[in-house]
Structures are given as structure tokens and as C-alpha cells.
Symmetry: C2
Subunit: 213 residues, 2 copies
């Protein structure tokens, strides 16, 4: 589906691009397994994901992944890391063309945050749903921190601060909490709450104003 090959693979020299060798060796099994894992996590849900399924999808034996990943958890971590990088890129892209220091930049980030939760709920849950008993990799915390910094930078500009002060951090934390919770709720229940519908953009504008004034 997505052409994310080589994102997480170690560089290899002179890989022959004649991919159809009917090869005993796969070519880039690591990337293929990550693709398969992401697909299955979204299709069946993270809980129902099995390494065996990923192997079947990639067309290899069930022992093959262990040449590339320590265990099942490491496969999931790889998928989440890749997803978080995409998430950050999306948020940064959403900022383009919006004037610096305007609250629209805050809401744009929020919209993108929610969009990721709705478009890739499986990965969103793996990262944020508290898989913490299974997955605890420092790289995941780093990634989350980087996303948070993006928000803080914008909050600082909105508040007219030249650097990230305690107050900026505090406001950012409030905004983050809100959008984070909103993402979970929307993913689980949708925007229609007992027949009444909220407009997401309006909701975010409202909150940004309340939090930043």
C-alpha cells in the first residue's frame, strides 16, 4: 500500500532490483514484515495481531521474522516508530501556509492529531493506548516528546513568547490533554453524541481560544 520501503532498513550495498528472482532470499523481508504488520494491526486490531499472520501475508515461514526482530514486540515497536514519524510529518505539513503566531496553527495541529487517531487507530492505540506493559522503548517516548515540542513551539509564538516558558508548557499541556482525550473519544464513539453532532473544527477553535487567551 504505502511505499515506505527502506524507511527503517539498514542500508545495503548494491541490492539487485530484479525483485522477482523467485528468491530463496526475500530481498527486503524486514520492510515487508513491517508493512504486513501495519496492515494487520489496522485490519484486525493490535490485540489480534499475530506474527504468524504477518508471515503468511509476507509469504515466508514463521521463523523468518526472528532473523530481523528480537520478538513480536519489536515488530510492533518498529511499526509504531514509523507511524509516529509519519504523524509528525503530517503535523508539520499541516502548518504550511498558515501565518506564524496565529491560533489557526494550533488548531491545525489538533486536526492532524485527531485525523491520525481516526485514520490509523491501530497504531494510535499501540503508541498511546497504554501497551506499556508490553512495549516500553525509550525511542517511543522520544518520539512523543518531539511531537509535543512541535505544539509547544506554536503555543509560544501564539502567546508572544520568544522561548518555551513554564506558562507555555502549561498551556501546551492543557491543549495536548484535550486533543489527546478527544482523539480517543472520537475513535471510540464518533462525533455524533446521541444524535447531536459537533463540528470538529469549531470545537478545536473554541478550545484553542479558551486555552490561549
Amino acid at each position: 500500500m504505502t511505499s515506505t520501503k527502506n524507511l527503517l532498513t539498514k542500508d545495503r550495498k548494491t541490492r539487485p532490483e530484479t525483485a522477482s528472482k523467485k528468491a530463496y532470499h526475500h530481498g527486503d523481508l524486514r520492510a515487508a514484515l513491517i508493512d504486513a504488520t501495519r496492515q494487520l494491526v489496522e485490519e484486525k486490531g493490535p490485540d489480534s495481531f499475530s506474527v504468524s499472520d504477518a508471515c503468511r501475508l509476507a509469504g515466508v515461514s514463521t521463523a523468518a521474522p526472528y532473523k530481523h526482530f528480537k520478538d513480536k514486540t519489536e515488530m510492533l515497536v518498529a511499526v509504531v516508530l514509523e507511524g509516529m514519524a509519519r504523524h509528525r510529518e503530517n503535523m508539520l505539513a499541516a502548518l504550511e501556509g498558515i501565518p506564524e503566531g496565529s491560533p489557526e496553527r494550533i488548531t491545525a495541529i489538533g486536526m492532524e492529531y485527531v485525523a491520525f487517531a481516526l485514520n490509523e487507530p491501530g497504531i494510535f492505540r499501540l503508541k498511546f493506548g497504554g501497551f506499556t506493559d508490553r512495549i516500553s522503548d525509550p525511542r517511543l517516548d522520544e518520539g512523543g516528546q518531539q511531537s509535543f515540542e512541535i505544539l509547544l513551539t506554536e503555543v509560544a509564538k501564539c502567546l508572544g513568547e520568544s522561548e518555551i516558558t513554564a506558562e507555555v508548557r502549561r498551556r501546551g499541556f492543557l491543549l495536548w490533554s484535550f486533543v489527546h482525550g478527544l482523539s480517543f473519544i472520537l475513535r471510540d464513539h464518533g462525533l455524533a453524541e446521541k444524535g447531536e453532532e459537533f463540528d470538529l473544527q469549531t470545537l478545536l477553535d473554541d478550545v484553542a481560544e479558551r486555552m490561549l487567551n
Copy 2:
């Protein structure tokens, strides 16, 4: 630990309370298994929970649970339902003694919401963390809705409305989103964000004021 027997068991007539019959029949295995499940879910995390472990803890064979529960998922649902009832009771109890219509009632609910997430993270995650691919029981949605109604009632009073209007629902939704997200973040990272600490009560007061004014 907690004496929650009979909470979820069908009434049985004339249960002999001479529990130590070295009995082939357990007495109240259903309740014992729910207890064991809750304990294990908190100790090891929902992902690592296994029916076999619960059986060992309860001292029965691994086939015994299936006389009381359809499958593993139904065991978890039972634990979550029981936890949600406790959660609602806690929130209602937290309101006692606080004058009607004051925003302190809102923050008291928020504090209790967060407290549950921190005290019973396993159950919190099972309910809200999006186990939705495995667990989807209408009773869970009902329970969540009931909790939300508690909040809405208080929001209406704070806004001086005699019934739950669209605006009440909207404000309640904003508050819920915030506290929900806050719960997740605190459970995952704690209140100390890079050395700076927020006071939870102050944070909630602040947000309530911003959302209700």
C-alpha cells in the same frame, strides 16, 4: 483483597457459608475468578493476562472458567463492568458535601476520574484504551454513558440550566475530553514533565473555569 463477592453473581438460594468443605464444588468460583482476573490485570497488565494464570490463582483447573464465562473476553468484560460501577460510585461519593452548582463539583469529578486511571490502570485501559477489537459489549457503552451523565448534570447546574441543553452537552464534552486525555497522559508519564510539576487540583480548577465561564 476487595470484598466484592456477589456483586456479579446470580442470586443463589441457601448458599452454605461453611466455605471450607474442601469441596469439589468451589462455592463461588465466578466471583473468585473475577477477583483473580482483576488482580492479574493490574499486576501484569491486560496484555499479559491469561486465563490459565487466573485458574492457578483461584486453584481450579484451566477448564473450570468455561462453566461461568463464554471465553477469556467475557471474563475481562465482567471485570471492567464491575470496575466501572466502582468508578461511578467513587465519582458520586466525591460530590458529597460540595455545594450544588459550584465548579468544585466539576473538579471533584475530574479528580476522581484521574484517580481511577492511576489506581486501576489495567481496568482503565481495558475500558478506554481501545480494546474495542476484542471487547465490544453494549453494557460497556451504557456504563460510560452513565458516567458522562453524572458530569452533564453537574455542568447544567453550574451553567444555571434546568436541563441538559445542547450547550451543556457541548461543554461537558469538552471537559470530558480534557480529563480523559489527562488521565492517559498522567498514567503514562506522571505529572512531572521534564522536571516541572503541575499541581493537579490547580490544573483542573483552571480548566473548569476556562470551560464554564
